[in-house]
Amino acid sequence: MRQGKKWVALALVSALAMAACGSDDKDGSDTTSASGGTTGGQAGGTLVFGTSSDPVVLDGAYVSDGESLRVIDQLFETLVTTVPGGTEIEPSLAKSWSASDDGTVWTFDLQTGVKFHDDTDFNAAAVCFNFDRWYNFTGVAQSAAVSYYWSTVFGGFSDGATPSLYKSCEAKDDATAIISLTAPSAAFLSGLAVSAFVIASPDALTKYEADKVGGTDDAPTFDGTFGTEHPVGTGPFKFDGWTPGDKLTIVRNDGYWGTKAILDKVIFKPIADGPARRTALETGEIQGYDLVDPADVTALADGGYQILKRPAFNVGYVGFNQAKPPLDNQKIRQAIAYALNRQALVTAKYPEGAEVATQFQPPSLFGWSADVPDYSYDPEKAKALIAESGVTDLTIEFYYPSDVSRPYMPDPTANFEAFKADLEAVGFTVVPKTAPWRSGYLDDVDAGNAQVYLLGWTGDYGDPDNFVGTFFRTPQVAWGFDNQEIFDALTAARDTADVAERTKLYEEANKMIMEFVPGVPYVHTEPSLAFAPGITGYTPSPVSLESFATVSLG
């Protein structure tokens, strides 16, 4: 019918017409492609970076998710920070520091002449304002869903419900801030580098009601606009605008006290779907993204894109719940360690750069020991140990998550299948148990329901306590054991002030842990970022503290 065909023809023609005049616009005035930068030189330009989701809020004290921290790291700064690409501490807003003999009083000499983005002065009073703000959190702000890092590094709050490492902050003069602790702590300094402890403008915090929690007791609402519209810090970039679901824009801070950023502007575009991120890089709609799927790494590299690797700072492990026999039998646990062919799994299913884990912390972190017991693949030894153990019922329930991809475990099912085969080869009967990550799996593991399970951990900051301390310093339902020797060793290691002494203590502790075999660590991975050709200056960090200030379009 002529009419029908007319419509179809019209539709096709308009589509073609649009496409034709479209392709000019795409590489036109608004620079998106790396090769067509605004100027011929190095300075300036706009970078569009693909993220996996929007930030939650741009208030360091209130978040612990990677996407919020990514942006916060550009707008704000801490007293001390990590060296680019590593975990050692270097000065930031504090140019030097010293601790009292008993390790409880820390004096920080601050940078001078620094201004917040709202032109107010950065000084010791501002530092103390921030610390006291965090210490005085109440209600929902105290929960781990909000102020996770404060509880991890300092423990309790001013209400005294749990003991706190923090005692007080004193602004001796504009350039000297003195922080007093209730006990000596060597992890304190590494903890301070965490982005939760960025120093924000007291003026903005107050004016934009950063701590306003409204709603009702059982339905609290965060009502302030500090973290959504006015995140004022001292960093090399300033906040420019945020439309959730669409994009977040930051611009260069020309009043920055340090080396100014090269780029004019960075736009963060949330793209939840991994393949969509990759395609967006390949079409030029974005110039870089994080959390590259290991399966894409080779293809992208072959296509001329730059793959940057983050130094390994995580651990994937098989966890044991010793409250569930026969896991309470050490010989059985050792047998499992020998039975699992970890090297084969890492070689077959993990991208280049992943390495077999020998203990519950990565080699780059001090306290790692080269002398831990070696559980290299040895199925014969496993069978011998099983015989020695005297255990006859070798049925175990093996839990794995069905639907998730974690940096240390991109394909849980593959790991499970490999380990199941290894265990059955030495005589175990494996009963698979699976649930979606957020819908039951984590709950089962935490509640102590899971007998043997796949899990892992990405480090928050450069201190062994954040790895082995998190797992084994206190009794936990998921691990199901009570080994006072290990608890004491890790507590002593955490509380020692001298770095050399701590290193030795953690090395000893790691040996002790691996003799006890509370679980079998099996991998450390290097998550990757991808960038368009020509982009330079991005330095991946093991703790994901990465600045865009040194990035240029090339």
Partner: protein, 334 residues
Amino acid sequence: MFKFIVRRLLLLIPILLGLSFLLFIWVRALPGGPATALLGERATPERVAQVNAAYGFDKPVLEQYFKYLGRVARFEFGQSITLRKDVTEELLRRFPATVELAAAAMVFAVGLGIPLGFAAAKRERSWVDSTAVVASLAGVSIPVFFLAQILKWIFALKLNWFPTIGRLQPTRELEHVTNFNLIDSVIALDGGAWVDTVKHLVLPGIALGTIPLAIIARITRASVLEVLNEDYVRTARAKGMSRRIVDRRHVLRNALLPIVTVVGLQTGLLLSGAVLTETVFAWGGIGQLLSGAVLDKDYPVIQGGVLFLAVVFVLVNLIVDVLYAVIDPRIRVR
């Protein structure tokens, strides 16, 4: 007519009440909760208990429900636990994105589907008919995310004709007045933005529209076939009326009723959030918000979002029913 509309709107109240209760209970009965979703590997029983206490999730369910009803009566739908943003604000802010996408998909589906179905019916059992039938089957069968990847690969990566993510080029600025980019770019007199918006609508619109396209084409074909066999059509042709006028005045208008029903239902479905399409094209609409909320067990967003969509669906159906009376005077809405 007016009484009919009012009565239908009043029906919304028991529907929403019942729905909210079922949803409230069901979502809390599922394994996992917002605390574990929020905390991930960092979850410990103590931390989970702390978060649950802070949000009142450890109270008896019925107690939670009545407190919730109290807030709803004051139009307070709460804040997203994971996003920490007002639920109503987020829904209203993202809805235009979903509407624009649904509109693009329906323009594609209706614009192509009705002529296709019509042509197939007129040439019953010809190659046109067979192609249309097979194409419809294919359209319904191909998974949306797979189709989306193919479309991206051909039209974006290889041909460089269309973009693949978002509603606008990230480097482009547009003042958000209504959040309908097509309207906002007109308000801002920004021709470039308008073209950019349309270009961003093409691939997701096609991906989303293939299923409605297939269904509309088939319904059109069936309905037109039925009308073509009616006596009055044969009489009109016998009287000497041109084929074109008969088609327009008698065939199409009478065949429209079932087609309108299907278009209405499909629109309602599309507005419920084209979850997969929105995720694959990073669209920033309701679908992505809700699917994320379900995974994260973000109770306030799930509750508010589903109720919101129920209202939308009821309103769309109401419009369809009113349209019946407009199209066919024989139908009286009582």
